[in-house]
Structures are given as C-alpha cells and as structure tokens.
Amino acid sequence: MQENSKDTIIVEDVYKTFNVYMDKANTIKEKLMFFKRNKKEKRQVLKGINLQIKQGEAVALIGVNGSGKSTLLKLMTKIIYPNKGKIITNGKLTSLLELGAGFHPDFSGRENIYFNASIFGLTKKEIDERLDNIIEFSELGSYIDNPVRTYSSGMYMRLAFSVAINVNADILLIDEILSVGDQHFQEKCFNKMKELKEQGKTMVFVTHSMESVKNLCDRAVWLYEGKIRMDGNTEEVVNEYIKVTT
C-alpha cells in the first residue's frame, strides 16, 4: 500500500433494502384491484457496511451467493442508491457488471466501441486516441467492422472487456467476469489489470475464484448476510473463508 494515499471509495454505514413483490402490480388497475395481493416483502441485503478503499488498492469482495457483494458494487457505481448511509467515490469510475451492456447488435464493432465508451463518459477525441489500442487488445482484427450480432460470445466479451479496460478510469469495479474468453485472453486480461494496479488505479472485484483473488488483490473483504465478516490481508481472509465454507 502506498504512503499517504487518500480514500477513493468511502462507504459509510450503508443499508440497502429491496422490495420483493410476490406478484408485482405495474398498472393502476392491478394496484387497485389486487391491493391485498400487493404484499411486498422487504429484504435487507446490506446492514450497515463501513468500508474505506484507498487509492491503488485492489480489493476483492468474497462471500457466498446472496451475501450482498453485487449489491454493494452496484451501489458504488450509482446504479442503485442506498436507503441509509452514504457512498462517496472520488475519480472517474468504470464498471463491468455485465459485459457489453448497451451494445447495439446491428452496428459494427467499431461503432459499438464509440457507443460503449461514450456511456463510460469519454469524448470523441479520447475514444479516437484509444481506438487502436482497444481493437488491438480485443484481437478482433478485420471482424471489427462486422455487425456485433455476427460475433461469437467469446468475441463479444473480448470487445466489451477491451473497451472497459482501456477507458482509463481511476476506479474499476468488476463483477465476476474474470472468466472472459480462452486461457490466452484471460491471462492477457490478468496482466493488464496488474499493470493498471501498478499505475495506481483502484479496483474492486466480486469473484468466487479464490485463485484470482490471491493473484491480484492485496485486500479481501468477506461479506456474510449483509455484513462485513472479515476484512484484511487476502491470504488470511481467503484461508479463513475456505475453512468455514468447506
């Protein structure tokens, strides 16, 4: 960890509750007619999370399914908002919650690079500068000018990942997508992420692959039933986690 680095992500006493409808009424008619059936169940997903992530840290969020990892990540990207508490992020943020969100199937790979990168808040000039890097990283070659709908799922993911990783954001939030592409491309992504880490980018991963956690992260946060159960050195947390869950 670097000396006197400031916090880039601050999570302060965050609570998040989802309303789970048994049978969701979307229209007024349904709301009026079946208002008894309109029972909603509150499900508290996060119960008082406190977390400070410093610049240049690579943090893994681990935990069993339903422990609130993805919710926490979504809160950090501002896709959803907490019911209580506060989340502050400093710096440009990119998230990879799902690869290729917002790809338009009829447009070519090249056009989609522009569209996807602009969703991440890049200007035309910035995209122009990065275009060659993105295409090269994706290894799509001449396919880049074909419509995205003709791509195989591997090509699709490669393109999406290449865009996201070349955005040059200060904070990278990644949800369970380290399983991109073939062995060769995975390694390449891995190396790229290590490189970004050395450049002082902050990264937060959600993953179940303990192997990649140990390889890439210097800190792990174990979430259990919406609370932080353990937070610290990757090795210790992962070992404890494996011991408890198996």
């Binding site: 990207t77 890049l122 035309k124």
Partner: protein
C-alpha cells in the same frame, strides 16, 4: 447545476444517442431519413383535404395555416410518446451501467427537435409556393423554437420518469394527446371558438407557441412576445420542477425496471 456538468462530461454519449434516435427511427425503411420529411408532408395533405370539407373555414391559404399548427404539434406529440417509452426501452442499459439518466429524455427531445427543424422547410416551401413571401418577422423563429423546446423538455422529464413507476401513463398519454389535439388551435382558428371555451385554449401552452408560428409565417406580423415570454418563464419553472422530480425518481429506476 450538476446537470450541466453531467451533460458536458457525457456530451459524446448525448451526441451518439441523438444520432441513434434519428437514424434508428427509419432504419430498414427504403426511403430512410427522407421519411422525417415525407411523414409530416403527407399528414398535412390528408388534413388539408379532409378538414376544409368538414369544417367550413374561411382561412385562405389553409395549407400554410395548417402547417404552422400541425408541424409544431407533431414535434410535441411524438416527443411525448417517445419520452414515455424511453426508460423502459433502455431498461437493459439502465440496470447495468451508470450514466446520467437525463441523457435519455434529452436526446429524445433533441432528435425530435432536429426533425422539427427539417420539417420547417415544408412550411417555408408552402409559403413560397403560395407566393406569400418571406418577411423579417421570421427572424423570431429561433425564439419560438427555444420556448417550445423548453416546454417539451420539461414535460418529458416528468413523463419519462413517472412511467417507470406507473406504466398506465404510456396509454393515458396517447389518449390525452388526442384530446389535446382538439384543444389546441391546430386545424381551426383560435378566434372561432365560442367565448366560454376559450379558457381551455388559454391554459394550453401549445396555443401560444402555435399562434406565434402562425403570426410569423401565416399572418406575417410580429408574434405576441409578451405572451411568449410568460410561457417561457412558466416553462422554465416547469422544466426545473420536472428535473427535480426526475432526479428524485431516477434513483429507483434500476430497481423498478
């Protein structure tokens, strides 16, 4: 003020989505973007044939009269209808990526505004064909256009965010628009309306906009600037309120969609 910084930071997204809206609308059709020209033209022809038959109106150059009402109205009504759908249409992206959500209604309104600017050529074409001539009053056009843009944007903020929570609004809007069509002096002259119904027209902001367009293109006089300014002020207030509502509601979009 955050909205302006957001829009500036995400200007490329705004630009590409406006482009996508315009291009996507007529994608796969043989005549392509030409339709944004043909569509209103054909509509005007239909109305110009039908309405003189059923309404005994004494408007001379009825086609120009009609253009000035119908083209701004089309801008209004298509923007409304599409704004109501935009969040649901883009639900997939909203749930997965963060970007300023206000980009969506703004790009709908802007793309429709561009369509409107293109359609204005039709008005000018008819003005020339009928030999009415171009006058300096047409210089008021940008002012009226801006007032109309703010008006439509403000309502779009409200409509687009509320439909996420109350889906009925989509259907209500199309009915409301039909009703509003007749409550706006589009096919008839506002002065021919019985005195006790005048208040309906006076409450309708589109009345002032259409009257202003009619003043500069059809009557060839200066528009009622005072009325227009009042509409503009009211609309700026509505736009701000609309944005505040939008901003409140957008926090729940990803969960509701």
């Amino acid at each position: 003020m955050k909205i302006f910084k957001n829009l500036y930071d995400y200007r490329e997204l705004l630009k590409t989505s406006v482009k996508k809206e315009i291009r996507g609308k007529y994608k796969n059709s043989f005549l392509g973007v030409l339709w944004s020209f043909l569509n209103p033209l054909l509509q005007i022809l239909v109305y110009a044939i039908v309405f003189p038959l059923i309404l005994k109106n004494n408007e001379k150059n009825y086609v120009i009269f009609l253009c000035c009402g119908l083209i701004p109205w089309t801008f209004f009504s298509t923007a409304m209808t599409r704004a109501a759908f935009t969040m649901i249409e883009n639900g997939n992206i909203i749930k997965k990526v963060y970007f300023p959500r206000e980009i969506l209604p703004i790009s709908i309104v802007t793309s429709e505004a561009i369509n409107f600017l293109i359609s204005t050529l039709i008005i000018i074409a008819f003005v020339l064909v009928y030999g009415v001539g171009i006058t300096r009053f047409m210089l008021y056009y940008p002012i009226i256009f801006i007032v109309q843009y703010i008006l439509i944007l403000g309502i779009s903020f409200i409509v687009s965010s509320i439909t996420v929570y109350v889906r009925d609004l989509q259907h209500l809007i199309s009915v409301a628009l039909q009703l509003l069509f007749y409550a706006t002096p589009i096919v008839y002259n506002a002065n021919t309306i019985p005195e006790n119904f005048k208040w309906v027209l006076n409450l309708n902001p589109m009345t002032y906009v259409i009257n202003a367009y009619r003043d500069i293109f059809y009557n060839q006089v200066a528009p009622d600037v005072k009325a227009l300014l009042i509409v503009a002020l009211v609309m700026i207030v509505i736009c701000v309120i609309g944005y505040i509502i939008f901003n409140k509601l957008q926090k729940g979009f990803a969960e509701e969609l």
